[in-house]
């Protein structure tokens, strides 16, 4: 069964802390994505990666960075967390061949206080 897992379901951090969100997929997918979900805004793409060590900015990359050292793992980093980064973060993966379908993790609800 297809699986995307995220390291935490709920996370509370203080303003200014460095925050790591981890995502692992077991489907050998080439593409991985980080989205944030906010009420009334749907999902917005932060960063994506189509290969190991490759990354591309999405629509809202400011304040975030990513790391992909292994094919199955894609990390989202908040260098200095701020309250406006309080949100639900969703990781997804998809195959790089054929038609795309996003497989999503359960999400991490991050609260920055």
């Amino acid at each position: 069964d297809v699986k995307v897992t995220q390291s935490s379901r709920y996370l509370v951090k203080r303003t200014g802390e460095k925050v790591f969100l981890e995502c692992v997929q077991d489907m050998d997918h080439e593409n991985m994505f980080w989205y944030r979900q906010d009420p009334g805004l749907g999902l917005r793409l932060i960063y994506f990666s189509y290969d190991v060590k490759m990354k591309e900015k999405g629509d809202i990359p400011e304040g975030y960075s990513v790391s992909r050292e292994k094919k199955e793992r894609f990390s989202l980093i908040l260098e200095s967390a701020s309250t406006n980064q309080t949100s639900m973060y969703l990781c997804a993966s998809s195959t790089g061949t054929g038609a795309p379908s996003g497989y999503f993790g359960p999400g991490t609800r991050l609260t920055v206080t």
Partner: protein, 114 residues
């Protein structure tokens, strides 16, 4: 760039009644279209997708959607809903050759009442 507009933010519906969720998209190139469902406190699950071929697409849980290129729409329908269909539904689009980046609508919350 592609964009999606979901025309209804909230749709209340009675159990066993039909439901239609409206989605319009904008793109200057050919697209793939998707509907996802998010149950409370869960991630997104793919309901169905249009890639090519027949414009009527059938998905899981009795949902179907129709691709209308002239009206740039991809409306989702179910003839008879259950309480368990209470969820948030997202329409998404990606352009062919666009690295499979999905652009999502704002979501439609469906609340099914007995």
């Amino acid at each position: 760039a592609q964009s999606v507009t979901q025309l209804d933010s909230q749709v209340p519906v009675f159990e066993e009644a039909p439901v239609e969720l409206r989605c319009n998209y904008s793109s200057s190139v050919s697209v793939y279209l998707f509907w996802y469902v998010q149950y409370p406190n869960q991630g997104l699950q793919l309901l169905l997708k249009y890639l090519s071929g027949s414009t009527l697409v059938k998905g899981i849980n009795g949902f179907e959607a129709e691709f209308n290129k002239s009206q740039t729409s991809f409306h989702l329908r179910k003839p008879s809903v259950h309480i368990s269909d209470t969820a948030e539904y997202f329409c998404a689009v990606t352009a062919l050759g666009n690295d499979y980046k999905l652009s999502f609508g704002a979501g439609t919350t469906v609340t099914v009442r007995a």
